[in-house]
């Protein structure tokens, strides 16, 4: 069983407790207009070409064992700091079989596992995978179905059904809201998010002004254009 990963990054400081490595899984069913990891959207291996002509291959297939071995090289640092591994993307839940296997390998070594997900996955997958993690960052992007469809290309009801499950499944979680100027950063949206969270933890992520930077390297245009 192999999984396709476009980056593993050490010492990610915003992806959970302690010192962590984040695995960015390649491929996502959504197309959020503000996505700052466009190389995580396609499931295919792509080439990024920098301005100076340097080429970087995005996407590498790993067996769960090989990736676990690589991640566990830092197990000492993770143990010392109460850290672990976070799976992000792309959408990690789009590669459930691989995720199931690697999480169990990490668990065997006592490594804390977190997942950051859009929640855009079949309920059966979500319910199978989520309880295998120690912590979940569940994205909440928009709460209006039409707006969700327009900005992400997906159906909100899929996400809401999974969130309903998340609230009751007992795995610790936090909501994450990427604040996008002109899309969901107005007072009414903020109030709606707070009401939706209903006392659960919410992290608001400020808009990444460099979000569009990687699109030209893939020969694409940033859908949001210039937002400052």
């Amino acid at each position: 069983m192999t999984g396709r990963v476009f980056e593993t990054r050490e010492f990610t400081l915003h992806d959970g407790p302690g010192v962590r490595t984040t695995v960015f899984m390649k491929g996502c069913p959504l197309r959020c207009a503000w996505c700052h990891n466009p190389e995580g959207q396609s499931f295919e291996i792509e080439t990024m070409i920098r301005k100076n002509g340097d080429k970087t291959l995005c996407g590498r297939d790993w067996t769960a064992h090989a990736l676990a071995d690589e991640l566990l090289k830092n197990a000492d640092m993770m143990a010392q700091s109460g850290g672990g591994v976070t799976f992000s993307g792309g959408e990690p839940l789009a590669q459930p079989d691989f995720l199931r296997e690697i999480v169990s390998l990490l668990k065997e070594s006592g490594v804390h596992g977190a997942i950051e997900t859009s929640g855009y996955a079949p309920a059966v997958v979500y319910r199978d995978i989520i309880p295998r993690f120690d912590f979940v960052y569940q994205d909440v992007k928009l709460l209006d179905a039409a707006a969700f469809r327009r900005w992400t290309g997906g159906s909100l009801s899929v996400v809401l059904e999974n969130i309903a499950y998340l609230r009751g499944c007992g795995v610790p979680f936090a909501f994450r809201v990427p604040l996008i100027p002109g899309v969901n950063d107005d007072a009414a949206s903020r109030a709606a998010f707070a009401a939706f969270a209903d006392g659960c933890k919410v992290e608001y992520l400020p808009y990444n002004t460099a979000a569009g930077a990687k699109y030209p390297l893939l020969g694409r245009a940033y859908p949001m254009g210039a937002i400052t």
Binding site: R9, E10, P17, G18, V19, K73, M77, Q80, G83
Partner: protein
Amino acid sequence: MTERIKSLLDRIFDKEQAKFRRDVDWKPLLDRLIADGIGDEARARIGLEEMLKAETPAFMDGERLAFLRTVREIPDLHSDAEMDARRAAGTAFGEKGVVFNLTADFAPTIRDGLGSRLSEMEERLAQCRAEGDAAGIEFLENAILSAKAVLELAERYRAEAEKRGLDDIAATLAQVPRKGARTFHEALQSLRILHYAMWCEGEYHCGLGRIDQYLYPYYEADAKSSRLTEAAALEELEEFFIACNRDSDLYIGIQQGDNGQSVMLGGVTRDGKRAFNALSRLCLKACGELKLVDPKIILRVDKSTPLEIYELGTELTAKGLGFPQYANDDVVIPALQRWGYELEDARDYSVAACWEFLIPGCGMDINNIDAVSFVGSLDATLRNLAQRCKDAQDGLKYEAVEKGFLAEIQRRADELVEKYKHVEILPGPFVSVISRGCIGKARDISKGAKYNNFGIHGTGIAVAVDSLASVKELVFEKKLVSLSVLVSLLDTDFAGRPDVLVAAKAAPKMGNADPRADEIAKRVIGFWGRVFDGKRNDRGGIFRPGTGSAMYYIWHAREVPASPSGRRRGEPLSANWAPSLDVPVKGPVSVVRSFTEPDLGPVCNGGPLTIEIHDSAFAMSDGVSKVAHLVKFFIERGGHQMQINTINRETLKDAQKHPERHRHLIVRVWGWSGYFVELDREYQDQIIKRMELVA
């Protein structure tokens, strides 16, 4: 921060102290010294006397700790022609030739007063006269006059303060520095004067040492007797730290900010007990509030240091100060012992200026006397081998390349040993008065102290190791290119062979926890650690190899074309002990892992792992703790020294365009923090380049 401190701080930033300054034409003095054939020791004394006579007592509004430099330049006491003649006659000098890069033994003189030193010297002088010890007489006569010159200026300051109704200052100066300090405030004033006087005598890179240890008794006594609340102590300390920035723009360095005003905190006491105390904590707090480049803080830690203490340090890192630098007692103390330092002294270590370990008060080590260029050594080796082997790689093995490289390192090291066999240091009678043992021996510190070792930096270690790994892979394993073609490509900057450049960049690199590079590093560092074994200078001292670069990382980069690691022509080297600049590393955890693989004890002259962290790391409240964990991880893996820069590339770029908007932006350069906008472009660009691979 109190209103008074805030106002003192603002006025330092506005450089208000500059209005008190004037220029003095010192040429006539030098002419007279030469014409009269005055000897070195008397010259040093006359220089200090004249300098202090030319000083005018000056006070900034609201200050309670007096003394500020009013004469811009100190006198030159030797002409270039005189120095050249001595060099031609076979004498080597460290940098400018004077006593530098040291920390005096401030504590006894703060405690007893300069008056006590004077009595001791008078007594010793009588003895020397009785014994007919001419050298002793010469030293003591000059040292006595030097100390008197300092006391005379202090008295002028006192009288002027009294005249202006600055009763507070006048009262303090009625006690110190002539008599021993009785309070924390008096101790700080005394330290301020002694330190100031060293600079006036011509010493530079004057460290402050372990102030949390030697000032602690005053702090503790004041606190116990309720003379001093914690808030008041903080205010005192903050004023002292601000005072360290009053004259610092006059202090000599390669770049502005490179002035060696280091403060060492924590660690263990001379008898091995935990030394981190309430005053250490207060020092860190004061730095965090002031956000100034001076003094530069170094924090001693070991594997038993609790995370909480690291966090006090990384809180400063989060503020972008580029310090504290961390030094690992578990590695440094045994390393110093192996080099012949007594255990009690080794436990008392501080740094000379940036990071070269030094024992305050009794070390006259010249810890940065020169450097071996690792990139230059490899370049020479490859050329040599390529010429001998042409294209006939048959028979040539990678091992021969590495062996040749190490032999070249040895050859260059031996050259330095020869070059610095006989080093003279120009005397410093006043600094001798406040150093351990000089009065007893009746000899100037420049003639030798308890420790007289020389330190040699190693520059471009990571680029050299990466280059070896690349040669191994490209030439010997993949056989992509022959050695002689590779060498010619270095001269043409890889022209016409983009494939070689791509392969070179993709070859194993230090910083990725990749054994293919790290094993080479272990062998190279292992060799470097032994390269000076058995070698001595004529002061009886040894040569200490280190992983520091000082400014040589800029200088040595100019001496080589492109590097086999894929470093392009003209690109800088990494400073100190750090990954090559263009290397995409997995992250700081792997960097720490790679750079703690070699045994760093034998290369403990100094030279920290230097890593950059993006300022967004501290956007979340637990960033401080996570970075603290990273430092702790480094220490627990046997790292010797580490420093962290917190910066943002965009901010640095903007500061180049609009320096006026970023006057207070602080960066860690090589072993010190400076204001980014005050650096030369070359140094600025190197720092920006370090940031390129940091998210």
